[in-house]
Symmetry: C2
Subunit: 454 residues, 2 copies
Amino acid sequence: MNKERKKFETPTRRSPFQMLMIYYMAAIALSTILLSLPVSHKPGIDIPFIDIVFTAVSAISVTGLSTISIADSLSTTGIIFLALMMQIGAVGIMAIGTILWVVLGKRIGFKERSMIMTDQNQTHFNGMVQLIKNIIFLLLAVEAAFFIILGIYFMGYYDSVGEAFLQGFFMVISSVTNGGFDITGQSMIPFQSDYFVQIISMVLIIIGAIGYPVIIEIKEYLLHKRKLKKQFHFSLFTKLTTVTFFSLVLVGAFGIYLFDINGFFKGVVWHESFFYALFQSVTTRSGGLATMDLTLLSDTNHLFMSAWMFIGASPSSAGGGIRTTTFALVLIFLFTFIRGGRSVKIFHREVYEVDLNKAVTVTFFAIMVVFSSVIILSYLEPYSLDALIFEVTSAFGTVGLSLGVTGDLTTFSKIILMILMFIGRVGILTFLLVFRRKKDPAKFNYPKERMIIG
Amino acid sequence: MNKERKKFETPTRRSPFQMLMIYYMAAIALSTILLSLPVSHKPGIDIPFIDIVFTAVSAISVTGLSTISIADSLSTTGIIFLALMMQIGAVGIMAIGTILWVVLGKRIGFKERSMIMTDQNQTHFNGMVQLIKNIIFLLLAVEAAFFIILGIYFMGYYDSVGEAFLQGFFMVISSVTNGGFDITGQSMIPFQSDYFVQIISMVLIIIGAIGYPVIIEIKEYLLHKRKLKKQFHFSLFTKLTTVTFFSLVLVGAFGIYLFDINGFFKGVVWHESFFYALFQSVTTRSGGLATMDLTLLSDTNHLFMSAWMFIGASPSSAGGGIRTTTFALVLIFLFTFIRGGRSVKIFHREVYEVDLNKAVTVTFFAIMVVFSSVIILSYLEPYSLDALIFEVTSAFGTVGLSLGVTGDLTTFSKIILMILMFIGRVGILTFLLVFRRKKDPAKFNYPKERMIIG
Ligand SMILES: [K+]
Ligand SMILES: [K+]
């Protein structure tokens, strides 16, 4: 009753977390309709409904896992719809996430806020609309520039100018939104010796995955006058997330090479090995495009890449997973606690305890969700454990890399992957906070009592 | 320099954690020597040194993983040595762990202390020696009673009285210490239809795994006069660990049955299914004996049982893993945080934050240790991922169940399993605390700054 009254009193007020969920659900519904239209399909192709929904969820969550071949099934119209969906999916969290970040900044006082945004001019705080416009404009500008570059460059690959620009258009969108879909029919494998295309794709993936607040701060820094540059402070968030991001890329590339040094990489020239390892590492951050057939890598590598996909991209980016900050905070928490420290410090800043609690909650919950999904899939499917772990973490990290089994999964398993993509995209925390009660139910304190741990 | 001075001033003072480590290392060294003696081997049998060390570590950590067949390799003398080692291994943490618990109790004041030990008479606090004597006496009394029962009962199984009592002796020791070794050559499979033997073994395993403080409290409760029984309060620790322990047993049995309902359990009579599922669930707590060939279970079940072995037994018991309390605290922490609560409460008591931090640290560190081990083993070994995960968690949980690949592992993999058994037995926390710095290095505070999580 109380609940109903509350609902009646504030009918229009929704938490930003609920907004985000509704945004994504509506986008998925719309995408499903668009992809169901006959005009979206190639002539004579009929796509089962579950696969249409799967493609819609995968596109809106910018994952890129697919149960159908996009190149064989979708018409040019369908392909453009798909690109649009990735765009909507990528902008969603970038925009809403960044707003949340600013709102959070407002709540914690001006001093911290100005550190967060490293702000000398106040426009960002005053204009939310301006902020979103900035985000979208920046994205479109990047896309336009690289669309022209790749389109022209691809004229060397494709017979018609239209085809070259369509391929360029799709690769740019798929890379920068971290969408991970391909219309070549075999991801980036046709460009496995073309380092120019690979570098462009990697740069775009990183722009999409590194987090929008970081890009804003870098832009601010670059626009600063030279003599003011020394006074400029990057926020703790930007430092931590960027260091973590690139550490993951480097360690990832090294690990991928190491775990197949006597396998896939045996006899491969150094520069080819370098680009294979680097591209596959960058793409586990959340990109999802691949320059090789991943089934050629060892089981160890599949497991290693699964861990990397589980971590995922930076917050407020086009990526998924538990996020780089979460991973970093958990690591730092562990390290601090083991050494006997009480408060957690990074880059001469102390981290709020509530943020540590969040990081821990997100990680544990994610582990349980992923583990349960693997258990269920291993029960339903005949495939090897490493393949199932790979597809599950790929979905949760909204990465979209695949060992090729997703298309052959049972409907129930497909539904599980869809749920994982959705949770991975909106973020565990958002997902959990939607169900959160407003107030701490206990108003009295219980006596404390010690425990034996471990 | 400061460090050296400190060392000089207090040369004899070692932390209880260091004591525990030294105790186990010394026990392993001694055991290795004993098992190297020719008198320990069957005539003509020569055991490689790595396998002797492995057996010693496995026995002292009461794990039961084995790279050799005990029945085929060890003489009666060797078997008695092995039983002795399990005894030493099991008593170690029970005794030292319980003392730590009491010391901890002393530090946090009389009120909590009396809750912990639910104590009306003060003898336990005053006499450490008395406490250890109690532990050992109780263990020996239980062993003696069941030795006689099983010895007599086994006369129906074995030709000679000596063999019957040797088998009874070894099964009792192996069960109650959670040692998990067998001299039947095929674990408890010869008794797969003998529910009497199975029930005795399960009861003994539970006594060994449920934690010594719990047994002390139950003994106290039973010795209380009837009219005082109502005033008796079990400690939070006993409540939490016992509820968790039996929940794991029940859910475990249900899960094992469910995940092979169309596999192993298809066509098996209900009471056989019941005992198969129940025994295999109890044994994952840390026992390590099995009434069936575990390779007959599905991959899903292997993964499920791996998770259960990872959790392991209760603290201050003969078992390993992250421990039941750790698992329970992490779950309760998650649930509390998700619902928006600030302090963690169980059974009308608030949990200390430092204990939550410990539980979180232990679990994360354990996950990283286990994951890294699986990665390394998957690189070195040709076996399937589920088998490797199974052996690794079995070692970490000091459970000793096996899918049969441990004997064929490379030396390096055997060393990793030994390290896991050791860490699993002394406990992650003890292991970490040995390396802990005495004081929080930072005497000044940094400004706090917010983060984006997940
Ligand atoms: K992706
Ligand atoms: K064991």
